[in-house]
């Protein structure tokens, strides 16, 4: 399966209302017989937005990587290399301990994340989740990369077709902008906490994450509580953990 064939397939299935990004993930999951596929947008600071998924499992595993600040999707984009694990249950090779336990709970045992980028510009990753341990064979790996290539084309295609009303220079296509907006409160809470705890933005986000992890809550819920003044997080809380 080549990138062109993939694009032709999802292009033919495209109807208004269903984002091309979701179609690509669904098609990828079907053709490689995967449990789930998720596509994330990332910047150099690692902030990501889940812009496409094949379903709830992939959606959950993509979201949780942002909450945890670790996982294959993040590493693939960060290092611009394909990363993964053929057996997330193999404790010896745990690169992402928190992500691995969440994945196993969700019924995922293996993952491959392909970086998305153009030249030196990193855009995110396409992650493929499998329910049983094992390697992708050579042909499957080639197909996985072809889907990565198609994902880049879809991203650029969307970004090039921003509706004219939204043509500010900072514009994002609605299919990409909406998932970014979904995380807005987390970024607001980061700024908020940076002031209240007198720390930098990076540290503030780490504090939010640490609190969410310790309390077993989603990052978004914790962020909302911080913004509403229901929750105060102090740098010391982290040290005490």
């Amino acid at each position: 399966m080549t990138t062109t064939q993939i694009l032709a397939t999802i292009g033919a299935r495209h109807r208004d209302g269903q984002p091309l990004t979701d179609l690509l993930c669904i098609d990828c999951a079907q053709s490689l017989r995967l449990a789930g596929v998720g596509m994330t947008l990332m910047n150099d600071a690692g902030h990501q937005a889940v812009i496409g998924t094949s379903g709830t499992v992939a959606s959950r595993l993509e979201e949780i990587q942002f909450d945890l600040g670790e996982g294959p999707s993040l590493d693939a984009s960060r290092t611009n290399r394909t990363v993964g694990s053929d057996d997330l249950g193999d404790g010896v090779l745990l690169r992402w301990p928190a992500f691995a336990s969440a994945a196993l709970v969700a019924g995922i045992s293996a993952v491959t994340a392909v970086p998305l980028g153009v030249g030196g510009v990193r855009l995110g990753s396409l992650s493929m989740y499998r329910s049983s341990p094992g390697r992708l064979d050579e042909q499957q790996r080639a197909t996985a990369h072809a889907y990565g290539g198609a994902a880049v084309v879809v991203l650029l295609h969307l970004q090039e077709r921003i509706p004219s009303l939204d043509l500010s220079r900072d514009g994002l296509h609605p299919d990409l902008g909406a998932p970014v907006a979904y995380r807005a409160e987390i970024h607001q809470a980061t700024g908020f906490l940076a002031v209240r705890a007198a720390v930098g933005m990076t540290e503030a986000l780490l504090l939010l994450r640490a609190h969410a992890f310790a309390a077993d809550r989603s990052l978004l819920d914790v962020a909302r509580d911080v913004l509403a003044g229901r929750l105060r997080i102090h740098p010391k809380e982290n040290e005490d953990d």
Binding site: A45, V118, V121, Q159, E160, G177, V180, A194, L227
Partner: protein, 240 residues
């Protein structure tokens, strides 16, 4: 719009933006040099028409002022203009033939010492986006084979330019996407900074930045960056 028309449009845009694109110019310069060698000509130049139909000289075998003038002149008259309008080759134009139709071009041609001029269209499907001009000093003649070769070279120019454009465009869009994402995050963080500093809600925080940015003619993202860096305080933002 068909994909052919889209391609044609992409190319016309290219003509518009090509002036500051170094690689494309390099590519075309090389092409003019090869064309002169292969067709036994003495000088060559590539002219592209922009979206408004204005012709731009984008490459030539020499920077000799007279040659450039000869190329530029064809905004008004000459074989190149005819070639662009008719979409076909106009070759073996001698000073004699040229005199009646293009008196200024013909005079300029003789002044540089060229005996003949040729124009080969840069075609993209059924539109013509520019032309390659060739000039010969001796009374040499472009044969049918030469013309076919010239057209093949012109076609290479078209394909090369399209590819160059596609690669450049995708890098540019990717950067825009990355920047857009950076800015979104920055603006949200700045809202949070203001909410915590001034006990205001999220809408008030954004309004504060937007109004400041309008008063001072700065982009909101730049204001947000200063808020996040703490180089711009709430007091500053509120100051009329």
């Amino acid at each position: 719009m068909t994909s052919e028309q889209r391609l044609a449009r992409v190319f016309v845009e290219l003509a518009d933006t090509l002036v500051d694109e170094f690689d494309a110019l390099d590519f075309l310069s090389t092409l003019t040099e090869r064309s002169v060698e292969l067709l036994n000509a003495d000088a060559a130049g590539v002219i592209l028409a922009d979206a408004r139909g204005v012709l731009h000289v984008v490459a030539s075998t020499s920077d000799q002022a007279q040659l450039l003038e000869l190329l530029e002149l064809q905004n008004d008259e000459g074989p190149c203009l005819d070639c662009l309008q008719a979409g076909r080759v106009v070759v073996n134009v001698g000073p004699g033939d040229a005199h009646a139709r293009w008196p200024r071009f013909s005079a300029a041609l003789a002044e540089v010492g060229f005996a003949s001029a040729h124009a080969i269209p840069l075609r993209l499907r059924d539109s013509v986006v520019g032309a390659m001009n060739l000039f010969c000093t001796a009374g040499s003649h472009l044969s049918e084979d030469d013309v076919a070769m010239g057209q093949a070279l012109a076609d290479i120019a078209t394909i090369g330019l399209l590819q160059e454009r596609a690669v450049r465009q995708s890098g540019l869009i990717a950067e825009q996407l990355q920047t857009a994402l950076d800015n979104r995050v920055l603006i949200e963080q700045a809202k949070g900074v203001l909410m915590a500093s001034a006990e205001i809600d999220v809408d008030q925080a954004f309004r504060l930045m937007r109004e400041y940015s309008r008063r001072n003619n700065h982009a909101v993202k730049d204001v947000a960056r200063q808020v996040v860096d703490r180089t711009l305080s709430v007091e500053h933002l509120r100051r009329p």
